[in-house]
């Protein structure tokens, strides 16, 4: 061999280097792709990218195997006339034919009843476009995957602090001294989180992980606090109680920046009980949170307008206003609420010892109080007070689905937001920091449609398909108070379902409840497998027919880059491109990759040609929108407005002349403006020259305290990021929730819930956080099903799109049910035995593995490693389909019939968040005579037309030679 020191890799073949943005998960790191003779040689982190700073993860570095995966779809496919759904027998058709079919069908629906078209998408990062398409079409039946992912985390915190984790904000680990992570194994802000956890630990910070399982990040936690699933709310409330009891809260912060001192009417007899006392006062018309509320001044012992200069209000006490109204500060109500939540009470529920709970509270409170950070940054608050410094309390948090994916998750997350508020850590150094466009008003401005009239033939939807209700008037219900969306989002069943309930869309459409639809378009969502609850039954629904022989969901279009289980049920399959083959805009209108220091968005620019006839889904939507003559896609004369998606990105404005488009950077004719400005024909080039991103670094004085930072808020309004420049007061007490509660109790004029839902709404729309057992536990026999069953996502397959990836599947080839040895022994089986996992609604056979890194009442597995035989370009003999298993089969999408209804979603009653982790099971050994393979099993399908023929036994990838050899 030649001495390696004498050669350069770049001399082998023709080398090109291009920048784009990764899409192996939702993290969206900057990547540098090296090509050799047109084949991908190397994908590395872009060292000049602020998001990932040059690092890359296991998935990102395996992008080559995604690009050249044999699971790729390459041709539009139409189900053969004699084939049943699920058989996956297709014929190749042209794109022209595919568009004709869609145009014919959809134009009829738009002319007659647009809501019979439903569009649901997976973790797609293009909600700005897909949501707009749905609105333009006129259908309310649109959502992305958020409802079954982590909407509780988004809603729980946004309705409390005006921002949340991940793309919305996060822990300031560079300055934090104590970091507490709840329910997170891996996250979709994965590389930034890893970079900063490492720095944090090296800086000597203490990292505590609260999680039933010790994997992922928890492995390097300084302290692991194993907790029973679904009980985090109890732990948080007990910590809150201890912090209040000892006076470890940041009083000044609470007074000035939260509604803690604001006086709440406290007279259960009154109609306005639980509402803030509001007085006549001038405020700007249309403002979102008028400051016409009261504090009780300590000095003069009288009520005064909030933020009256010199007023020092009580946080505790009860008072009577001059008009006789009995009132209490919100903080007093919180204190009353947590009185019963002692550490001993929480120990019984959570399994965390009371002493540990108290110690956690002390560590948080004392660190926040005694390790204050003071930065020499001048800023001015919304009330005109000038500050010479920004201060911070260095305790930070992060949380994910462990908190979110429970039916009591919304209130648990409210409790977390309140704990963060009590410690005085919101948008301050060392605590939680927002990412633009957050903070936003509580709740943000967009509202869903609120009556059946919003949906009209040949019309744009009146309202946003997804929005942020702040009162019952914003619900999308009919005159009887019943749902108008196919997933029943924004109904009284799940009023604040701000991300929709994709997990119930198929079941509801199949049942025709609230109505039948005609066409369901699924993009990048594996609803016939790991993205559905109750998978086996949902597969049945997709293939189920009426008496007249027509499918109950008459037309199903699936767009995906890969041969997923869902494609088998499609009538029409559209082959999407990979991320290396397309343009994308990771937009401020969706979930940008903003940094704590300021707004940032980014793009993808193709580095290789699309395979076969693959077409980016964005191009499909632009073409379809044009053919259907949706107003945003055509000129006034009905002719084509945009050549293609890149042209759309440059020239589309949210409304004519708004200056707001999908990309915030290099706007204005010559690229001299940002956030707002005329279209710039050279915008793509400018992104390409700048590492595919645009980052506006805010002046330091605008980087903190943004909820109340006058300069920042005025800047944000001037640049079209927010409608208001008013302070965003933290909602320790949620009047928004109280409005729904009052309606449920019949004390509020206007809309009221149907009778069957009154109690449910009144209970769960509590303006203060409370702990209740999960809905599932109240409805099933928990003695019969004593264990909690969870899934986690492994770092090397986070988002689980890559079993077709030859390298990644060697890391996770199949999954086990992970069981504490004591639990195994108690149930009569041993390590590596085949066992059954059974819930009240289903059972799965799998292999178990003993682990000491799980609390004994919990069993868990890696999510979505198990696959159906023959899919994802894998041989039917692949481990994924034989030893691997899918836990979803035992998780129902609906609760057992209960007072609230026959078919209530297995979800949080506030937000509609899928309660995956409420699952209860029993486990027992499989019979000796049973097959040593997973169950249930499904019919093996053949390769699709256009898919590569079976690959050989060996794969020896060498860029520049691979295609030649394979070809």
């Amino acid at each position: 061999m030649q001495d390696p020191a004498t050669l350069s890799d770049r001399d082998i073949g023709r080398t090109e280097v291009k920048n784009t943005t990764c899409y192996m998960c939702a993290c969206r790191c900057g990547i540098r792709v090296t090509l050799r003779d047109g084949e991908v040689r190397h994908i590395e982190g872009n060292p000049e990218h602020p998001h990932n700073q040059g690092v890359i993860c296991a998935k990102g570095a395996s992008g080559i195997m995604k690009q050249y995966s044999p699971a790729r779809l390459t041709r539009p496919l139409l189900r053969k006339p004699d084939a049943e759904r699920g058989e996956a027998r297709f014929e190749e058709i042209s794109w022209d034919r595919a568009f004709q079919i869609m145009e014919e069908r959809l134009s009829h629906l738009r002319k007659t009843d647009p809501k019979r078209f439903a569009l649901f998408t997976g973790r797609d990062q293009m909600q700005a476009l897909t949501g707009m398409f749905a609105k333009q079409f006129g259908t309310p039946n649109y959502a992305a995957h958020g409802g079954f992912c982590s909407v509780n985390m988004a809603a729980g915190l946004i309705y409390t602090i005006g921002g949340s984790f991940w793309e919305f904000g996060g822990p300031d680990l560079d300055r934090s001294k104590l970091f507490v992570m709840f329910g997170t194994a891996e996250d979709h802000d994965s590389n930034p989180l890893k970079i900063h956890i490492s720095k944090f630990k090296r800086n000597g910070g203490k990292f505590i992980s609260v999680n039933p399982v010790r994997t992922g990040y928890s492995a390097i936690a300084d302290e692991w606090v194993p907790i029973k699933p679904g009980t985090d709310g109890a732990l948080l409330l007990a910590i809150i109680r201890e912090i209040i009891e000892l006076g470890l809260y940041d009083r000044d912060f609470l007074v000035q920046y939260s509604n803690s001192a604001e006086l709440v009417i406290d007279d259960p007899e009154r109609e306005d009980h639980g509402m803030f006392k509001r007085v006549e006062m001038h405020y700007e018309e249309g403002c979102f949170d008028p400051e016409n509320k009261l504090w009780w001044d300590r000095g003069l012992d009288i009520a005064m307008g909030t933020h009256t200069p010199g007023c020092d209000p009580y946080l505790l006490g009860e008072f009577t206003l001059d008009d006789g109204t009995p009132v209490k500060p919100a903080f007093q109500l919180l204190k009353d609420r947590v009185e019963e939540y002692t550490a001993e009470w929480a120990e019984n529920i959570t399994g965390v010892p009371a002493d540990t709970i108290r110690r956690l509270a002390h560590e948080m409170g004392v660190t926040a109080r005694d390790h204050k950070i003071e930065l020499p940054i001048q800023w001015t608050d919304c009330w005109g007070n000038e500050h010479n410094s920004v201060t911070g309390n260095p305790v930070s948090f992060h949380a994910m689905r462990g908190l979110a994916a429970h039916s009591n998750g919304f209130q648990a997350i409210r409790a977390l937001g309140i704990l963060m508020t009590l410690l005085g850590t919101i948008d301050r150094p060392g605590g939680f920091r927002h990412k633009a466009p957050f903070p936003r008003p509580i709740p943000p401005c967009p509202k869903p449609p609120n009556s059946a009239d919003a949906v009209q033939p040949d019309s744009v939807l009146d309202g946003m398909p997804l929005g942020w209700p702040s009162a019952p008037e914003h619900l999308f219900v009919d005159d009887d108070g019943e749902a108008l969306r196919i997933d029943k989002a924004f109904s009284w069943e799940y009023p604040l379902s701000v991300h929709g309930l994709m997990h119930n869309a198929i079941t509801n459409a199949w049942r025709g409840d609230p109505y039948r639809i005609d066409t369901l378009l699924l993009f990048m969502a594996n609803m016939a497998w790991n993205s559905s609850m109750n998978t086996e039954r949902v597969r049945g629904m997709l293939a189920d027919k009426d008496e007249d022989g027509e499918y109950k969901i008459p037309f199903l279009i699936v767009c995906d880059a890969f041969q997923s289980e869902t494609t088998a049920f499609a009538d029409l399959v559209l082959p999407d491109t990979t991320y290396l083959e397309r343009h994308d805009a990771l937009s401020m209108l969706d979930r940008p990759i903003s940094q704590y220091t300021g707004p940032m968005d980014s793009v993808r620019i193709p580095v290789v040609e699309p395979k076969g006839e693959c077409k980016p889904f964005q191009e499909v939507l632009v073409e379809l929108g044009t053919r259907l003559k949706l107003p945003a896609f055509v000129k006034e004369d009905g002719s084509r407005k945009y050549r293609d998606y890149p042209d759309f990105i440059v020239n589309h404005e949210t409304s004519p002349g708004s200056g707001i488009g999908f990309l915030a950077g290099w706007r204005g004719k010559g690229g001299e403006k940002f956030l707002k400005g005329e279209p710039n024909p050279r915008q793509w080039e400018m992104y390409a020259q700048n590492n595919c991103l645009y980052h506006y670094e805010l002046p330091r004085s605008y980087q903190y305290m943004r909820n109340w930072n006058k300069g920042y808020l005025q800047w944000a309004r001037a640049h079209g990021m927010t409608r208001y420049a008013e302070p965003i007061t933290l909602h320790l007490y949620s009047e928004v929730l109280q409005k729904f509660r009052l309606a449920a109790r019949g004390k509020r004029p206007g809309r009221q819930p149907p009778e069957r839902l009154r109690e449910r709404v009144a209970t769960h729309f509590d303006p203060l956080p409370f702990y209740s057992d999960t809905l599932m536990n109240k409805l099933i026999d928990t003695h019969e099903y004593p264990l909690n069953a969870l899934t986690q996502r492994p770092m090397a397959m986070y988002h689980s799109w890559d079993s077709q990836n030859a390298w990644l599947r060697q890391i996770h080839t199949h999954n086990y049910l992970m069981v504490n040895p004591k639990t195994g022994a108690a149930n009569g089986f041993d390590d590596s035995d085949w066992i059954w996992v059974e819930s009240p609604t289903g059972k799965v056979r799998c292999m178990c593995r003993f682990t000491e890194a799980v609390e004994p009442g919990t069993v868990w597995t890696w999510n979505a490693i198990g696959k159906a035989a023959g899919f994802w370009g894998l041989s039917p003999k692949a481990n994924e389909a034989n030893k691997g298993f899918l836990l979803n089969h035992v998780i129902p999408e609906e609760l057992p019939p209960c007072e609230a209804g026959e078919h209530i979603s297995n979800s949080d009653p506030v937000t509609g968040q899928a309660a995956w982790f409420d699952q209860r099971v029993k486990v027992y050994k499989a019979g000796a005579e049973e097959e040593k393979a997973t169950w249930p099993r499904f019919k093996v399908v053949k390769r699709y037309p256009g898919q590569e023929p079976k690959r050989g036994r060996w794969l020896s990838y060498f860029a520049g030679r691979f295609g030649k050899k394979a070809g």
Binding site: P4, H42, S62, S198, G216, M795, Y957
Partner: protein, 241 residues
């Protein structure tokens, strides 16, 4: 003499496998490639990797530690794999101490893998030659790369920067300082192989709170109205003289 090596910080390794696949990605198309995979899309896939992460559990619940442990060739200063090689295919570079295999000379006899006490060598079942970590020799010696990128792919990739790279013979290098100051250790030094790679141990941070820190001099609760009983009844003041 220069001895290049990796120092792996177990205190921050989260077991994400970035090092595993970035290694495979770089090396399969590089000087040491290809790195073959058997049954890539079939049952029991298995392939050549120069670097793997193993995960161990230590202790019993609830006192469990989960340890992620990346393993690759340790580039021993006294590599037992070199003298046993009958063809001279296994060799240790004099300029930087990296242990390499010349595939042209390797006959796949596996003596080296038997000699390696760490199990770090893998026979490429397709090419029938022995393969192992090269510390990305074709990156670290490539003068056409910017100096910041003349590092092994795993080091550049690692999101927690758990992998340090440098000359362990240079007392001022980042790796030597880390070994010296943070308790860096070798694997099985008793074998006399003098592995160049080192590991940094787990370190725990604790917070100690003294009783008196919980009693605040400036307790904000003191600012709240103290509720007195409405009727005090008789007091000492009424009855004592």
């Amino acid at each position: 003499m220069t001895q290049l090596a990796l120092v792996i910080d177990l205190n921050v390794c989260v077991g994400c496998h970035a090092c595993v696949t970035s290694c495979k990605e770089w090396n399969t198309s590089g000087w040491a490639g290809p790195m073959s995979d058997f049954h890539p899309y079939d049952a029991d896939p298995t392939g050549t990797f120069f670097n793997r992460v193993q995960t161990y559990e230590v202790g019993e619940f609830p006192n469990t530690e989960t340890v992620h442990f990346p393993k690759s060739c340790l580039h021993c200063e006294e590599p037992p794999c070199v003298p046993v090689c009958p063809t001279g295919a296994s060799y240790k570079r004099e300029d930087n101490g990296v242990v390499l295999v010349d595939y042209d000379k390797c006959i796949g006899c596996k003596y080296c893998s038997w000699a390696c006490p760490y199990g770090m060598r893998e026979l490429d079942e397709k090419q029938k030659v022995m393969k192992k970590c090269t510390l990305c020799i074709d990156r670290i010696t490539d003068q056409s790369l910017p100096e910041t990128e003349r590092k092994p792919a795993c080091v550049l990739a690692c999101p927690t920067s758990a992998r340090l790279f440098g000359d362990v013979h240079d007392p001022d290098s980042e790796v030597s300082v880390a070994i010296r100051e943070q308790g860096g250790y070798q694997l099985m030094p008793e074998w006399g192989t003098a592995p160049a790679n080192h590991y940094l141990p787990r370190r725990k941070t604790r917070i100690r709170i003294h009783e008196d820190e919980l009693v605040r001099a400036d307790n904000p609760l003191d600012k709240e109205a103290i509720e007195l009983p409405d009727e005090q009844g008789e007091t000492l003041d009424d009855v004592a003289w």
